[in-house]
Symmetry: C2
Subunit: 204 residues, 2 copies
């Protein structure tokens, strides 16, 4: 996947050479996804990247700035993946299956859960900047899923009685919750099964 938008940061420092900044973001994302926002330190990142913790502050003045960048990057990349799925000429149901597949593959390959799901569960200890990014993520997701549902309805494979705008956030929520619980119960199947349950119920 390509690095596109590191300048989404509201903070000052632009950082002309984004390779290292991106590297820091990637490690931060992985650490947040496995241990949470309050579960990692600048030193953890520094040790992994191979620099000193003080050097991270050059790229991201505060931990909040880093989290904002990590969440913004995560959101952007997720949107790219979804845009890619939408160009594959799939049916609505297949798109929703592919959507769930993104969650499943993440959990399967890395053992990590959704970055914004983790941040949301620590919501009270986040700055407003990070909260905003988390909020935007979930809005993104619901919009994309609602579109896929309507597509499936137009093709006659999803029940027309379903309210796409109401079911979309429920589908997203279900996958987020199932992903988090799946990790704690050591079974990707928990997530896969939940996704199938939701989908089977809305199919004609």
């Amino acid at each position: 996947m390509q690095f596109e938008n590191a300048m989404t940061q509201t903070t000052s420092k632009p950082s002309q050479h984004p390779a290292r900044a991106q590297e820091i973001i990637a490690v931060a994302q992985s650490l947040i996804q496995s241990r949470g926002y309050n579960g990692f330190s600048f030193r953890d990142i520094a040790d992994t990247v191979g620099i000193k913790s003080a050097s991270i502050h050059y790229h991201f003045p505060t931990k909040s700035d880093l989290a904002v960048a990590a969440a913004a990057d995560y959101r952007a990349k997720f949107l790219e993946i979804l845009a890619d799925i939408a160009t594959q000429n799939l049916t609505g149901v297949r798109e929703l299956q592919a959507y769930a597949g993104v969650f499943e593959i993440t959990l399967e390959r890395s053992g990590n859960v959704c970055l914004c799901g983790v941040l949301a569960s620590e919501f009270e200890s986040l700055t407003d900047d990070v909260r905003g990014e988390v909020d935007r993520f979930f809005k993104d997701q619901s919009v994309w899923v609602a579109r896929a549902i309507r597509k499936g309805q137009a093709d006659g494979e999803i029940q027309s009685t379903i309210d796409a705008e109401a079911f979309a956030p429920a589908y997203v929520s279900g996958l987020e919750g199932a992903m988090i619980i799946a990790r704690s119960t050591q079974s990707v199947d928990h997530l896969r099964s939940a996704a199938n349950q939701y989908l089977n119920l809305i199919k004609v």
Copy 2:
């Protein structure tokens, strides 16, 4: 609600006079539910309870011990509430609505999310003891929900094609995820709506 089982702890110190220990557990639960396991300190609890942080170690030698006690107590109390619902002679669907209501009321009144949902999202930074408690919680929940679903099916108000054992964890996961996202989007309605979506889909 009554304090029942503080001795579920695997650790040594029994603490004959459980009032203060229970007070500490209650504050710890609230802090975990709002800021996460890594988002609070012994000093936070001490300041709220009105003792010194060192005194907490008398009741709970380590932070992990405290988290285990908090999770075990949470699980026990949740089971009491569910047992209470089950004695109210409700239909299966009404029981499932009451179940969702427990989540909604918690979020509405305290702004807090499910303790075990939070812990699960920080899973990688938990000790095995805490992990076990979290795991047990979700097993509990699925068992109770599956029973309610089968009850609804027996009464003919829930579709007989639904696999109760497979849908139960999906329902629990959905409510957990919706609860976490609802807080981050500042709307209890997000949770209420998701609960209704799931239920409407399985009704006859």
